[in-house]
Symmetry: C2
Subunit: 84 residues, 2 copies
């Protein structure tokens, strides 16, 4: 499936969460990750996030059966988009 | 259509961009907006963003034909989700 994940975590944890998410998805913007991922890896990633997040942190995960459902437009600076 | 918009703008412009986007979509996380929107309003919104963004700012817009394509999961704090 295809996943988009956006997070809003305390500054103290940003670097740790970023590093963790890079194991599973592609970093496309400050606090946004995207990519193809299997059910098993997605579950593993979400379990790991549960352990790492603290009070006040927030993560939204959007899931799609296929990347074909998603049209993406970007204004401004791009990051790593050549690999998607 | 259904839209998800994530932005990464200089701190100086966050409040202005937030206020602007609230005219069109629903604020669901720090720098994330979502909602049903028409083609005409989406174009208007993106034109307005173009005028308001400066160098270094970044906006990603994800578009879907229908909200039915999107599964959403949240970990942690929620904002305004009762209205979606």
């Amino acid at each position: 499936m295809y996943a988009i994940l956006v997070y809003d975590v305390d500054e103290k944890r940003v670097s740790k969460i970023n590093k963790y998410l890079k194991r599973y998805l592609i970093w496309v913007q400050n606090s946004v990750f995207e990519g193809e991922i299997t059910d098993a890896l997605l579950n593993e990633m979400m379990d790991g996030l549960d352990e790492r997040l603290k009070e006040g942190d927030s993560v939204i995960l959007y899931k799609f059966k296929t990347k074909g459902y998603v049209d993406r437009f970007i204004i401004g600076e791009k990051r790593d988009l050549n690999v998607i």
